[in-house]
Symmetry: D2
Subunit: 147 residues, 4 copies
């Protein structure tokens, strides 16, 4: 997957609508946008040499979602090529907030936001938020959206 | 599925977490909550004798999502029994806004909101918002959340 | 969820098609049938007082799929009420084979099969098949399909 | 997406496991393999200048699944890069059978098969199989697996 940093510090993930993403209204089902957003968040991490699920650490470190939402402006359809533009809106002690824009042929399809908390996770483990490791904190600054 | 109207005009949909709803963090994947919310919206419609996809009408009438979001407070896990409480927050000329609370054993798991616009839909058809039919408008009042 | 044992030892799970299960062809997306089958398998376990993911044991015990398939005969559509009939076709030392029939208004919608192996599982753990515990083996006999 | 034709006439689709593809067993959920297979089928069509959902035609032409299955050999995990190799096993008057192999670092992860029938489809339309158009038939020969 090619990735481009746009002028305003966004990470860009290209993607194509798959058949399973559609519903009987003939357009992309709204829940698919949340998967697109999540994958863009993971690819942003990956581009920084970070991982969203640190298996080396015990208990494992993950980033469960605290809140998220989308405003839907135009529909996407089967086979459409589009881009997810994602930037870091804010970094606090234990969580990161993202801004997302889904774009097709230069037009905004949807605008989303998401906040994930750095947590200890794992099957059978009580989810507990912990401070963001210094390395991740430093690297994530690279995609901090310029206001 | 049994359904109960609580005192504050909410429609209640019981549900159990399925294995496919979980992710490798050992909890329900956040995108599953949007499916839960949507199905609760459909069951609310159904309880009123309404359908969310009117196939009799040509072009078909559907309710694409305009915006939606969730705040996640506690995790859900495989096999958990929970309830989705949904009420109508607002009805405008062409759209309906819902309030949702996901509840397990009396504790709030997540709070969501969603707005759907009444639209002409269908494969190969340009999505276009239209006024909400009078029957639907009248019946939806029944779940209008008392403030 | 009400459950009925039919004469031929099948466990029966009633279900309704949800909007997110459909695709732009206006019918239930084929991959949804595999989720239906899996949930029926879990409900069968549950009806026997068994769990498909034993978290008490360390490492955890799970039942990853070894093989599965479906033949699709008639389409399902949004809002359709249907049943998944599931029986145990065979129990070997480390795996269980199931037979599934998806039924709507007395007509066969699809026929499926699935084999799961009893395995040690968990995030960061190498999946390894182990003998089926005696209790599970005994109880699963109850749904052995009479030939 | 880069695509390579291997010596034995397979179309190859590279892909990376997304977080939403995993389940609480810490591996890719088995139903995700069916989405991978379907997307590979669509990309194969696309590489031939064909579309799986012909919207120009009225009623629309689609390819509902008649049967499909998978044998799972090794697990896939979050972030894994893998390939779906897909070839045409057989072309009959109204349907096409595919052979699929999911490969990671030269090792077989899973083997699948799928048969789709050429059908008239659409919301509110009775699904009916029709002969495969001559152009599609001719082009699909290109990926006919050499035995």
């Amino acid at each position: 997957m090619k990735k481009t940093n746009t002028m305003n510090n966004r990470f860009v993930m290209p993607r194509r609508v798959e058949f399973a993403d559609t519903d009987m209204a003939g357009i992309v089902h709204f829940a698919a946008f949340f998967r697109y957003m999540e994958t863009a968040e993971h690819e942003l991490f990956r581009s920084l040499g970070l991982t969203l699920v640190d298996m080396e650490r015990d208990p494992h470190l993950g980033w469960p979602r605290v809140s998220c939402g989308f405003d839907f402006i135009r529909p996407l359809r089967f086979g459409d090529d589009f881009e997810v533009h994602i930037g870091v809106a804010n970094i606090s002690e234990k969580s990161v907030a993202y801004e997302v824009e889904v774009v097709r042929e230069g037009k905004t399809i949807a605008r989303g936001h998401s906040t994930s908390a750095c947590c200890e996770v794992g099957t059978g483990i009580k989810v507990r938020s912990v401070p963001i490791p210094a390395e991740a904190r430093g690297k994530l600054q690279q995609y901090l959206v310029r206001k």
